[in-house]
């Protein structure tokens, strides 16, 4: 399908009667950039034959959605000699006419650019964890969804991932292209127990309570990546098994990952790590009263206990996220923790295979009335 028409008129005929076709030049090449959602920025190069004097070039389209005001024309040859005199929009829409002055006749190369709707690209990722859980194979796929109404026979796709792809794309076609693949990328598996989101006592639930498991990858050169930011996209994670076949571990949406940053992908729950949290103490201490005997200030003395059991036959890195409201002071803790912000702390526990661990922390919380 050809939905774009480029007509060239003999100089100095009536602008609005578009007859007398001089040339219908073919596209040389198109560059398609996907910078904004659902819209592509198209730059196409064509050769047109200009007559000496004022030429009218009519650019019209049908069945495609072009942002009319985004259309620009650039001269690639004789930049200093050619002059764009005028641009007009005819009343029937979906077209425009450029008036170009050329000091002498001949072929010229021009670039027409515009924003085209209903064409975009998506990213999907595939991760295959090796059977010893030491490294991953990382593949990036580009999915071109062209529902713009236009075919591009020779298109250069410039995705954000930073690799140039030369491919054709037909209207209403979806195309999946493998654009990057790398083996041997290091990763880490992290188990996360977030106290404010998860069930404290799994025995109170009729359903299985699993601990969310994440794969963490560094987008860094030394890790085999780090060439460009990773663009958000659905990521499917597999793992090779003993028979060299593989099983599907789960999927997550990769978020935007700048070079040097870490990506975390949640793929499933582990039921072989059991975490049970209990509050063992909460009493009021340091109570201060006003003259009428009313309480104006007190601290709560609280003890939390987290019982962890690793039923796996491997080590596990478990992160425990705890939220402590208001003003607080830690009195005692069995394990080191990191203060994420004023009210959130994080324990990182390295669990040995088939082991039990108890994390207990004791804090005072200030209460003003």
């Amino acid at each position: 399908m050809k939905k774009f028409f480029l007509f060239l008129f003999l100089p100095c005929i009536l602008i609005y009667s578009r007859t007398k076709l001089v040339a219908l030049p073919d596209r040389e090449i198109s560059y398609i950039r996907f910078d904004a959602p659902f819209t592509a920025f198209v730059e196409e190069e064509r050769i047109i034959t200009l007559q000496k004097g004022v030429n009218q070039v009519d650019f019209s389209w049908k069945g495609v959605n072009i942002d009319q005001d985004s259309i620009t024309l650039t001269f690639l040859t004789n930049k200093n000699k050619l002059k764009l005199l005028n641009l007009s929009y005819p009343p029937e829409g979906n077209s425009l006419i450029w008036e170009i002055f050329s000091p002498e006749g001949g072929e010229e190369k021009i670039r027409i650019s515009y924003l085209l709707s209903n064409i975009d690209c998506l990213y999907t990722y595939k991760i295959v964890v090796d059977k010893n859980e030491e490294s991953i194979n990382f593949s990036v796929f580009l999915i071109i969804r062209n529902f713009s109404g236009e075919d591009f026979e020779k298109g250069v796709i410039l995705p954000e991932f930073g690799r140039t792809i030369e491919t054709s794309t037909k209207n209403e076609e979806t195309k999946q292209i493998l654009i990057y693949q790398k083996d041997g990328i290091k990763f880490e598996k992290v188990f996360v127990f977030d106290s404010s989101k998860m069930i404290w006592d799994p025995e109170t639930s009729k359903e299985n309570v699993g601990i969310p498991v994440y794969i963490e990858i560094k987008n860094k050169k030394e890790n085999g990546l780090g060439e460009s930011p990773l663009i958000p996209g659905k990521t499917r994670i597999f793992q090779t098994d003993k028979t060299d076949s593989s099983i599907f571990l789960g999927e997550d949406n990769l978020k935007y990952v700048q070079v040097g940053e870490n990506a975390r992908l949640y793929f499933g729950d582990s039921r072989d790590i059991v975490v049970k949290k209990k509050k063992m103490k909460e009493t009021r201490i340091n109570v201060r009263r006003n003259n009428s005997g009313g309480i104006v200030l007190y601290d709560t003395d609280e003890i939390m206990r987290i019982e962890i059991e690793n039923f796996r036959d491997k080590n596990a890195k478990l992160e425990i996220l705890e939220y402590i409201p208001n003003e607080w002071d830690m009195e005692e803790s069995t394990h080191k923790y990191e203060k994420i912000d004023a009210n959130n702390i994080k324990f990182v526990i390295e669990l040995k295979p088939k082991s039990k661990e108890i994390v207990e922390f004791h804090y005072h919380r200030r209460n003003l009335k």
């Binding site: 037909k170 979806t174 599907f248 571990l249 949406n253």
Partner: protein
Amino acid sequence: MKKKILLIFILSTFIIFAKVDIVTLPSRDKVQLTIYNSADLTLVRDERILTLKRGENSLQFSWANTLIDPTSLELLPKQEITQINISQLIFPPRVNELGIWKIDSKISRKVPFEISYFTSGISWEAFYIGTVSNDEKSMELKGYVKVINRSGEDYENASVRLVVGKINLLEQIRILAQKFPPYGKPGYLPPIMVDKEKVEMFKAARAVLAEAKEKEIIKEGVSEYFLYTIEGTESLPDKWSKRLLSFSQKDIPIEFFYKYEEEKYGEKVRRFIKFANDQNYKLGKEPLPDGLIKIFKYVNNEENLSYIGSDKTRYIPIGEKIELNLGESKEIKVDVKSIDTKTKNYMFNKDGNISGWEEEKTYKIKVINYKNLPVKVEIKRNFPHQYWKIDIDKNIQWEKYDLNSVKFSLNLSPLETKEFTYKLILFEGDRRY
């Protein structure tokens, strides 16, 4: 027999969309199904031999009336990996349920390929049958798996693998399978519908049980999941189910015990069976996937059985203990009576009003065992808040469970009645601080 999946191999380049010039119509050589139980998802690996020509080859794959997720399609050569480049997968305009792979080959020969994809409509579940001995001291436990095919596609001689574990899925495969175009259109983001009703209907569909063959099931852990590989191959025609014995273990020592907790179970006593998934209980070779367990008991020496009850088990990792709740029991009675309430140790504020006091409550607990067997009874008592003190008979075993509850543990001989009292002191108002 229905075959919904078609694979057509097209002569190098020329006319992509005209289904002519078919070089080979390869049939399945091997098929492997990896079936999940936490989601309606099966990973299918289909091995076929393709005859490649040097240059560009096109392979057309169509899957009308199946539940295949087109975004999961993948083609991989099993040999000559460096000679073959599969650069693109094209979903042509206005054609549903069809994809074309572009294969660039540096060689001309037969090459085995693997096509993999996700399909919905095949599921599996675990269930158990336990038979308790007459003296209630041991149990025989049998675990089964049942595979159900509602995918629209027949799978003949497939090697079947079952995955135990909860995976994270962003969209349901059933929804993805119905999406056209496969990745949607730009600007249009279809809502992710969770089609629970259909899944439930599907689950509830009565299974046609095929004859259970005593096949071995090989078990191994992969990542956070557990993989069951059924020995040999199975044929799974569309709309059929199959039941297989996963394991059978005799003489598992078990312990019956009883629980009483008003807030959780009301005033009735609940009967439980306790054992663990470890070597002490002749188990522990594999985690036990979640499933319904039915418990029967031998009532005489003629092997007549009675049905005791059932419970839905959670996933039990290796080494974890199991408590099965078998419902109400009339064989044990727990009677809790409040026999005395007192308030004392008052505090008064400046205006002469009461600002604090202690409440002393005395309870009598009577436990009766109507059975001819010794029993264990656990009684949990929950208090209204954490400001309390307790005074209990010295010979009663108890522990603080958490900040506002305690647990009493009693052992009773056959037909024995035990009684004990405890005094709970609750600190109220300013007496708390």
